[in-house]
Amino acid sequence: MIELVVDDRCTRCDTCVQVCPTNVFERGTDGLPLIARQEDCQTCFLCELYCQADALYVAPNCDEPVAVDAASIMASGLLGQFRRDSGWNEWEGDPAHANLHWRMGELFARARAG
């Protein structure tokens, strides 16, 4: 579930509030997004994908909230990883992150072949 908004990275662009499919966020009075309805979070990571400031962190646990330490997450290099691996925004056109989704069928085929 969504666990963290890194305030000093956030540009207050409102994108996450808009794109979260389950309406988890709410715009706070200071413009920062609040995690208002964490229990509705579907752990889809799509807010991270749309946050160009890499200011959001979704913990992989979909069953219950987990405590996260903002400093160690910022140091971990995990922020923005999904956006980069997906080749979005400034990563678009970078051959190291080219979309190879079309090779998915190979996973099944080669597993079958043993």
Binding site: P21, F82, A111
Partner: protein, 535 residues
């Protein structure tokens, strides 16, 4: 604060099917409004996944063979004519997205249209819809349908949970329900908004359902994660708590052995068999699949990690609204169903349409219903000034006075549904007496919902209450149909009735609100084409 709109066509749901329906209607010249509960572009189970579509080139022999192969696995409940139709429509429709999706160009310079990455696919569809003139209402769940005195659909009503808030009403000549399958609030990836709202709204208007017993599909995922992406797990080996390997019988469908093992204790997996070259490019194939591992410090290729199975309800099952003609019209005139909200028995029979058929179905049924609704609008007009009636009941208009604590009742209902629809022993190993007990429990929940469930104080509470009523309704149709099908066929397994019963080689219809009914739908195969009487 209320928003009143008139349009030719209203699309409810902006996932894969709803977007294609909106594009098709708009390109046919209709004025189109699309309302999604969440955000059109990230909502729905495609936006979080990466669908492979049924993709067969227009070579008559290849296509006939593809239909024959699939029909042979459908256990008598599919219709080859519908399979051929979706193959053709998908082939012609998918490439029209090329201006909005950067298709990979593969060997020989051919764009790869068949398999797309979910977030990019839905982002592209949103742009395509907007460029086609569709008006999109995000965070605007539909709550109920509006009906003309003659029983045909007149529009819908819902609320806006962001911005100014308030209610919305859209009057339209044709309405397409594309609200997805019902996943019973399991943790299936991307399914939180798929609570069967469209099923309930349509049933309240008089629509029937079909195939609701085929709601047992499950997918493996890391224990606490939502990543139900099966491709990597094709390389998985599974172990019990003592480290003994679980025999999955060499069958690619590992659901039953894993469910048995999970009922006995924790189960672990490793992806050690995945070759190094594929490991290296996995983040480029499916960027999300590795996130749960990396964020927990697990190396899935060398370590064993705990797993679970997430139930999918009707998402990669096949049940949904019954269709009466080639335009995907439901029993309610002017109301169409597309994608997972509709029954997919026509193309997948008693087995799952996941893996290729379902997304081809969403593209095709969306396209046909959007075009048909646009034709209906130009033939009959909007009739926007005739009086209409709101069809919604449970969760909107309690018949016996509202309970004060709507939130507590909503929780009671959703937890009650989860307790009947998610445990593996109840769903994957069905038995008559247990199903009967579940149905009695669910009938009680329905009475609570109908009599006492009020909308609640704010937008969130109103949506949740209506979702709870829809979940209970879908659970009842599904359980009653599973009880009536006293045999084992495809996804539907009865421990107390193993094997096919030739007398049950037909589809089962269901419906009803206060009293749920189930009955046979005549011979399944090769029903003659019937077109709606709209030019």
């Amino acid at each position: 604060m209320s928003l009143h709109l008139e349009a030719d066509v209203l699309i409810i749901g902006g996932g894969l099917a709803g977007c294609w329906a909106a594009v098709a209607a708009a390109r046919a010249g209709a004025e189109v409004v699309l309302a999604d509960k969440g955000y059109c572009g990230t909502s729905g189970v495609t936006a979080t996944a990466g669908p492979n579509h049924w993709w067969v080139p227009p070579d008559p022999e290849k296509r006939a063979q593809a239909v024959r192969d699939r029909d042979a696995r459908a256990l008598g409940l599919a219709d080859p004519r519908w399979m051929a139709r979706i193959i053709d429509t998908t082939w012609r429709t998918l490439p029209t997205l090329a201006d909005y999706y950067r298709h990979s160009v593969t060997a020989g310079g051919v764009p790869h249209y068949q398999s797309l990455r979910g977030p990019e696919y839905l982002r592209a569809l949103r742009r395509y819809a907007e460029a086609s003139g569709v008006r999109i209402l995000d965070h605007s769940p539909a709550l109920e349908l509006l009906l003309h005195a003659d029983g045909s659909v007149a529009g819908a009503r819902g609320l806006r949970r962001q911005g100014e808030g308030g209610n919305w009403t859209v009057r339209a000549a044709g309405v397409v329900v594309a609200t997805g399958g019902c996943a019973f609030l399991s943790k299936l990836l991307g399914s939180r908004t798929n609570t069967g709202d469209g099923h309930l709204m349509a049933a309240e208007a008089g629509a029937r359902l079909s195939g609701m017993e085929f709601s047992t599909y499950h997918t493996v995922a890391e224990r606490h994660s939502t990543q139900t992406r099966s491709a990597s797990y094709a390389f998985a080996d599974y172990f019990d708590a003592d480290g003994r390997q679980i025999d999955t019988g060499g069958n690619p469908d590992v659901t039953l052995p894993l469910a048995r093992a999970l009922l006995a204790g924790p189960v672990y997996a490793t992806l050690a068999r995945m070759p190094a070259d594929l490991r290296a490019i996995l983040p480029q194939i499916q960027p999300a699949i590795l996130l749960p591992f990396q964020r927990q410090g697990i190396d899935p290729f060398t370590q064993r990690f705990p797993i679970t199975l997430h139930g999918e309800g009707t998402v990669r099952g096949t049940g949904g609204l019954r269709l009466v003609d080639d335009d995907c019209q439901t029993d309610v005139p002017g109301l169409y169903a597309a994608g997972d909200a509709a029954t997919r028995e026509l193309i997948a029979g008693a087995t799952s349409g996941g893996g290729a058929q379902n997304s081809a179905w969403a593209v095709s049924s969306g396209t046909w219903s959007g075009q048909a609704a646009a034709r209906l609008a130009s033939a009959r007009g909007r009739r926007a000034h005739q009086g209409v009636e709101a069809a919604g009941g449970a969760g909107l208009r309690p018949t016996a006075g509202a309970l004060k604590d709507a939130a507590a009742l909503t929780r009671h209902l959703t937890e009650g549904v989860r307790a009947e629809m998610l445990p593996y022993d109840k769903i994957l190993f069905r038995r008559g007496p247990v199903l009967a007990q579940s149905l009695a429990t669910l009938d009680g929940l329905w009475r609570d919902a109908r009599d006492r469930l009020a909308p609640g104080p704010d937008a969130t509470a109103r949506v949740r209450a209506r979702e709870a009523a829809a979940l209970v309704a879908c659970a009842r149709w599904s359980t009653a149909t599973a009880l009536a099908r006293g045999e084992t066929r495809g996804l539907h397994r009865r421990e107390d009735a193993p094997g096919l019963n030739p007398d049950l080689a037909h589809r089962l219809l269901s419906g009803g609100l206060d009293t749920v009914w189930v009955r046979a739908d005549g011979p399944a195969q090769r029903s003659p084409a019937r077109r709606s009487n709209v030019a």
